[in-house]
Subunit: 181 residues, 2 copies
């Protein structure tokens, strides 16, 4: 007798299929920063970052509810999306591995890192772009919360700067990009 | 006397800044398909496509409320995200330009295109991946609606197939990608 797949089995198969599909979805890597109630900086590497609307200018980040950054975002209602450049691989480990969390914000690449309760969030001058947002809507779905933020400040690297090329992530690793001329 | 920037001016400046920043955000191009109440296929090129959660497996697409696909998605509650490969540039024009809309679904690349009211949505066998979803939540924000869908079916190209490499969009144009080995 062949067992009928249960709903749980189907969901596992779908999750495995979706993981395979997502290895074929390229995205820009960003470090999303914020501050806790004591003004201490927090940050997390993320690829689920998309624009939502130009009127008003707004961005969305999806954050796992188990992530350390999640309660910080809920409380502060503010975040800064720092797109990473091809030259900023060294920042990725600390912001994606809990074991390396003590190294976050330790490099000289960051600005406005010192504990502070003012409006400035940690940002990267050498990033292709950093986009500061104030959270306007949140929506829980499954394991994640979507944070939709109104853009309050944008900083961009000059278009011809080496730092203007973003780090592109595909299939669990960074890939190099080249213009099709 | 220098005029004080109005809120509208500030918003225009932010929108211009955000557009510059988004030219530094790389994304995979997808064609999102659905069916209207007569079973006719509809589709639209999109780059605002991200995973939301693995439990349950779910994806998000952001769609402008003025897009022809918007009322179709609201009514059908279903969509298929077809990631485009590097070899599928020819599909992009018809699905991003209204003047070329008659050419949508005309190429032999599509499957399940004929008007139909069954469960199958138009999909691309040569796509890196196609991901079918049933809408579970929607959220309006500014000009756009977010459609969050539970994944119901996933099809993937073999990992070593040429079609497994996605079309990556950066700064308003496609770019070539290469693994960093």
């Amino acid at each position: 007798m062949t067992a009928t797949p249960s709903v749980d089995d189907e969901q596992l198969d779908l999750a495995a299929g979706l993981k395979s599909a997502l290895r074929r979805l390229a995205g820009t890597v960003a470090i999303v920063t914020s501050r806790d109630s004591d003004g201490r900086p927090h940050g997390m590497a993320a690829t689920a970052v998309v624009p939502v609307s130009m009127e008003p200018p707004s961005m969305l980040v999806a954050v796992n509810r188990t992530a350390g950054l999640h309660p910080v975002l809920l409380r502060s209602g503010r975040y800064c999306i720092n797109l990473l450049s091809d030259a900023q691989h060294a920042l990725l480990g600390p912001f994606s591995q809990t074991a390396l969390r003590e190294q976050r914000f330790q490099s000289g690449d960051w600005r406005d890192v010192a504990p502070s309760t003012d409006e400035r969030l940690p940002w990267l001058p050498a990033a292709p772009a950093s986009i500061e947002c104030v959270v306007e809507q949140t929506l829980d779905h499954g394991t994640h919360t979507l944070f939709i933020g109104r853009v309050t400040q944008v900083r961009c690297a000059p278009r011809d700067a080496a730092s203007a090329a973003p780090m592109v992530w595909l299939g669990g690793q960074p890939v190099r990009i080249a213009r099709l001329d």
